[in-house]
């Protein structure tokens, strides 16, 4: 299978360069440290499995980002039977985890919990749209391509998600957002 040392070195360098950004994307999507780590690792595992092709691509980072978004949505689709956005068991666990983790690591843990909890109230696809558009700064066309949906679907979902998010995060910005 040809796992050579140079190949692993190139891959490790790629992870060190892009890992923080990808992990933060995963954290915004999942709202949970453990789930974010697992999602990030799953993404990089897929990247490594196709590394010889990926590292020759024009945009390996974009490839990894697309894999992460699709892995997140696929995983959520498979688990969503009976699940309500914002009411899933893992969201509850998320809030507990962040209340604990945040208290140790963040000067203002309450705001962190609020943003992630607010995002968790959105459907996974709506959340992915907002993360792609406002965290990754992807265009509507790029977001549509990344998520495999139409541009009109991205517009509709973005508008609907912002309307749902607005009242939940208004207090986080004194100047007022949105």
């Amino acid at each position: 299978m040809g796992n050579t040392a140079p190949e692993q070195g190139e891959f490790a360098s790629f992870v060190h360069t892009t890992g923080a950004q990808l992990y933060r994307t995963a954290l915004l999507l999942t709202g949970d440290h453990h789930l974010a780590e697992d999602l990030t690792q799953t993404t990089y595992a897929k990247v490594f499995a196709s590394w010889r092709r990926v590292h020759r691509a024009d945009n390996p980072v974009g490839y990894a980002r697309t894999i992460l978004l699709n892995t997140f949505l696929s995983h959520r689709r498979l688990r969503r039977s009976g699940e309500q956005p914002g009411r899933a068991a893992d969201v509850t666990e998320t809030l507990t985890d962040f209340a604990i983790d945040g208290a140790a690591n963040d000067a203002d843990p309450s705001t962190r919990v609020d943003l992630l909890a607010a995002l968790a109230r959105l459907s996974p696809t709506d959340r992915a749209v907002l993360v792609a558009r406002y965290w990754e700064d992807r265009s509507i066309a790029e977001t549509a391509a990344d998520l495999g949906v139409s541009q009109s679907a991205v517009r509709t979902r973005s508008k609907r998600a912002l309307e749902r998010l607005r009242p939940l995060v208004l207090h986080l910005s004194p100047e007022g957002i949105m």
Partner: protein, 208 residues
Amino acid sequence: MNDLSTLMRSRVESEHPDLAALVSGSIRRGRRIRRVRYAGAGLATAAVVVGVGVGVAALPGGHTSATELQPATGGPQSASGTLRPMTRAQQLKAVFPGAAAQRSHGTGTVRGKGSAAVPFSIELHGWSCGAAMDDKLTCAGPKGESAEIVWRPTSSYQEWTGDPDKGGTIGVLTSTPHGHWFVTLQGDAATSLHDLHALADSLVWKRS
């Protein structure tokens, strides 16, 4: 909502993953994916070689039997039996050849708003589908199975089947193009590959 960008950045900028653990874990899991991929390809190739040999011997007139919907091939096989590179879905079908035989008979339903826009119908006893959401249908089986069917434009077929994270993903079945559309099917944890194949085989395309 440009401040949402600022808000997101301020909330996660202090988060740092364990990169060393990420590298080692990813390589370990990536190797596992490669092993499965190579093993599946080997089994599938052997199965197809046997199948083509038997088919050519039994059908000297060149008759080709094909179901309306099969896992994607990445391109049609020629009548002379030329082998093309196989997708993950083909490999799975080769590994589980009995899947199509499990098809039940009867008629399922596609109901609700937007059903007229769905380019196919479901004809599988006990299965029914909810309202179409954009280009997606979620269907439920008689024993609690669930699967999502997405119809996609034929123009994106090559891109889709050529992407290992899409058409090549384990558990995702990809149809051949049918007029303007092809479909992908993905089941939940309660849906076996056999169920998914049966559902795929039951799709009846509308005239496009």
